[in-house]
């Protein structure tokens, strides 16, 4: 998470995990979001709650350039305005029906969601490409303890695990939960990629053991 006085950016997902025409759940410091990509490829982030009856919008579906709620099919545009209420086909939904939205930036294969109005752009991950995302039932401190290294102000952490050099981009989820994006050099081989992925799983096991021990004390 990169913070400045006006807001912050959170790396919520990898571009490959959000193909056109899909919606996924994600989390920011401001709460849960429905992250979706329209058929034409545009990513958007809205609050993960349909204002009609409170259903999670991340359970919904994307048709064309709109996100629809699975419960009653209410559809929303990228700006969060309600475009369609299927129970009333003749009705143009009033402007007041809308979901809160967040700014989205996509760079280097990572999707960042802004909370507030960050004045800066999300950090560049020069030379690195994302491999995969995984969630740990462990807080930042436990992950740093397991890695024997500290994350920088952008959430970047470098360490060696099973004699494998790994670089992680960490995003805070809850006090005891962290989203890990695994990064590596763009020219890594298939075997290197698999080795890094497995090394990060080992690191996660270690961090979760530390977290569990800490919370049982």
């Amino acid at each position: 998470m990169l913070s400045d006085p006006t807001g912050s950016w959170t790396p919520v997902a990898l571009s490959v995990d959000l193909p056109p025409g899909t919606v996924v759940p994600a989390r920011t410091p401001a709460g849960p979001i429905a992250l979706w990509r329209s058929a034409s490829g545009r990513p958007s982030a809205s609050a993960d709650r349909c204002p009609h009856r409170g259903m999670r919008l991340s359970h919904g579906f994307v048709r064309g350039e709109t996100l629809s709620c699975i419960y009653h099919g209410w559809s929303y545009g990228a700006a969060g305005n309600c475009l369609r209420i299927p129970a009333h086909p003749g009705l143009s939904p009033p402007e007041t029906i809308r979901v809160a939205t967040h700014p989205v930036e996509e760079a280097g294969g990572v999707i960042w969601v802004g909370v507030g109005e960050p004045a800066t752009q999300p950090p560049q991950l020069a030379g690195l490409v994302p491999l995969r995302s995984l969630q740990a039932q462990a807080g930042m401190a436990a992950l740093e303890a397991a890695a024997g290294a500290k994350a920088d102000e952008n959430g970047l952490l470098e360490t060696t695990q099973n004699s494998q050099e790994i670089r992680l981009l960490l995003a805070f989820q809850e006090r005891d939960e962290t989203l890990i994006h695994v990064l590596l050099d763009g020219d890594s081989s298939l075997l290197e990629r698999i080795a890094v992925s497995r090394a990060v799983e080992a690191l996660r096991r270690k961090a979760e053991a530390i977290e569990a021990e800490g919370s049982s004390r």
Binding site: A13, L14, D17, P19, G21, T22, V24, P25, S58, H59, F61, V62, R63, G64, T66, S68, I70, G73, S75, R84, P86, H88, P89, G90, L91, R132, S133, L134, Q135, L190, R193, I194, S197, R198, E201
Partner: protein, 219 residues
Amino acid sequence: MKLYNYILSPSCYKVRLMAALIGVRLELRPVDFHPGGEHRGPELMALNPAGSIPILEDGDLVLTESSAILVYLAAKAAPEWLGSGKAEEAARVQQWLSFSGRLTASLGGARLHEMLLRPGDIGAFQAQGIAALRELEAGLFEQGLRGQRFLAADRPTVADIACFPYVALAPDGGVSLDPYPAIRLWSRAIRALDGFIEMPGIHRLHELKPEPHIEPGEA
């Protein structure tokens, strides 16, 4: 072929889904699993002393394990669903067919406990379910690196059908699917297959149908 079927059983759904995907017609014999407990009654126990469903009858043949039933349907009607037969692929199919039993024991146990009030250690069910989901997530991620979208190949096999239902229904047992991007893409690929059918708790992909244009008063 006659399937002793319960509409809410993920294992019975595996058989119905497989049959739908490969165009096999099944005669369905509904079993009052809940609330009636018919699977433990004399008629079905005589057929399957394990007291479980699904049961598939085809002439003299009686099959009671869902993975075996999937293999039987595929071998009869669509052998490409068994995999190519290459050593590694054949082994991967078996690997995930065996693994599917762990999904039944963990996520299936959690679901029966949380939904139909069956006894059991819910904490253990859920913890083992999460462990299994993480293995599946890692397996699918590595398959993706090899350019393969499904568990054993770049096309679906019986292994995918064996694993899909209990995974997709994990939330019924209080196990979230939110943290698994590779599982999400795989589940989507299965739901987008031609001939896919749903079961209660697994919604269809409404986006596969274009948005209808409706004039008021037409409904």
